[in-house]
């Protein structure tokens, strides 16, 4: 057995050559100003005047499992906080428009849905996972970031954070 342990250490050491640099740490952070959506070259109708409004920007894709769960939750948030001024903008990164259309057929929503066909905005924002969402205040600054969607836990956080932003 001692010889086996030495062999294992040798194996671990050699495998450490796989540990390249951890890429992707340069994304948008809280406090940063979110890029201008009107100028981002997105497909679809972008809500015009976002100044002074609380905005939830969500990056999603038809192939992303947790996105199927997040859509009904966002629809409920839209119904609950829309009248109080919350704007939800869901941006798909689908390269195939039909995939996005099929997803929306199965998960119909009434908030704004756009498509980042060239995947340029999402690359600029450099999200860490799919889906990722950003809560922006009236000045367009990122106040809260959600990486992934974790069901009831994420929903509670959304409610708490939106309340705090709308309350101001």
């Amino acid at each position: 057995m001692p010889t086996l342990r030495l062999d294992l250490l040798a194996l671990m050491a050699s495998l450490c050559s796989l540990l390249g640099s951890n890429a992707g740490a340069g994304g948008l952070k809280t406090g940063d100003t979110f890029p201008d959506l009107q100028a981002a070259g997105l497909e679809g109708h972008c809500p015009a005047d976002l100044k002074g409004k609380t905005v939830l920007v969500d990056f999603w894709a038809s192939w992303c499992g947790p996105c199927k769960q997040s859509f009904p939750v966002m629809e409920e948030l839209h119904k609950q906080y829309g009248p109080r001024g919350l704007v939800i903008i869901a941006i798909s990164v689908d390269q195939n428009k039909r995939d996005m259309a099929d997803f929306l057929k199965k998960n119909p929503v009434s908030f704004a849905v756009l498509r980042d066909a060239a995947q340029k905005l999402v690359a600029r924002v450099d999200v860490a996972a799919m889906p990722s969402s950003f809560l922006l205040d009236g000045q367009g600054k990122v106040r809260f970031i959600h990486t992934g969607f974790h069901g009831a836990e994420t929903r509670k956080e959304y409610e708490r954070q939106i309340e705090s932003l709308l309350g101001k």
Partner: protein, 413 residues
Amino acid sequence: MNRAGTQALKPEPQPAEPGCQHPAAALALAAALYLMQLNRAASQDHFDYRFENYQEDNGRMGVQTQTWLFEKTVKPWLTLRGQVVYDAISGNTPIGSPPPSQIKSPFPLPPPLSTSVPTAFLRDNRWAGEFEAALNYGPHHLTPQFSYSSEHDYLSYGAALNYSLDLNEKNTSLNLGWAHDWDSILPNGATYIFTKQHKNTDDILIGASQLLGPNTVLTFDFTFRNSSGYLSDPYRGVLFDDYPQGDPNHPSLFAERRPDYRECYIAYASVMQYIKALRGSAEGSYRFYADTFGIFAHTVGVAWHQKIGPRLVISPLFRYYEQSAADFYGTQFAGDPSNPYDTTRIPAYYSADYRLSHMETFTYGAEVSARVLSWLTLNLGFKRYEMMGLDGVTSPSAYAHASILTVGSRVWF
């Protein structure tokens, strides 16, 4: 029955008692049905059932296997998986003797003697279960697993631990695995053993998965295994040439003897490539195997997954396997272990199990999978499995040729 010297010889095998209804399967089914009704929203949780009918040609072995599996994410950090397997095994299997036509006998017997290896009928049922809990914490994934298998002549308890680490924004995954099996081989009227035997096996795996691009996944795995204890087949015998035989149609055999220690080294690599233009993906794999029994084996597998329409996937596959013979393999051996005056040197280890011979196998077939409803997938598959000897000595009749039919379903909940 023929007995020889101090070596016990195998009498006619007795069919095993048929298995009775096992409460574990009913429990697993009840648990799965309960979990299913909890939440029908779009989810990755699922319950699988699959039936496989493995049938060798010419009345050889047939196995009907049923598998029930459930997987449920109970918390964002915890996914549970459980599986129950039931095998019904019956059919004829070679006993280790060469064909009667190749056995020398002092008595003149009318030809023709059979050129096929003698077989014996076996029947058994096997229940097996596995349970694992996948724990996730950021890039860390730890999965302990427990397994159990029970047949009338074999009992196995297993424990395993798998760890994987996501790196480079999930472009790289490092994997470590360890497993230990505690096995017992149980005697019965048909075995060459008379007391319970034990076998212990350790497996260690180190591997990595790497994305080569948005359409390509490369995987490497290295496994080291060691087994110790009773490693022979308790049902198979060997023929010693100089032991006096009576009727070659009912040869007298000695218990086989394999080493009680075995180290295995395995290197495995696979590639998965997505081909958007064809709406399909290709899968290729290669495995190199070497062990201290003297066996070297190469395995190459290719499969294609073709999407047809929005719901159907058809997957043809082909697998080629080739192995060298074990150092101690032979169809028959010189000498007579029971005769103290026989000067022929008896090897330390000897086996005539055709599965240790120099041979190749071909597996080919296809499976169709259809997502008939958003929550239901059905699948149907057919494969042929052909074994062929390559040493020119082992009788072709020893090797199995089988048809494998599978039918299954997956319910998403």
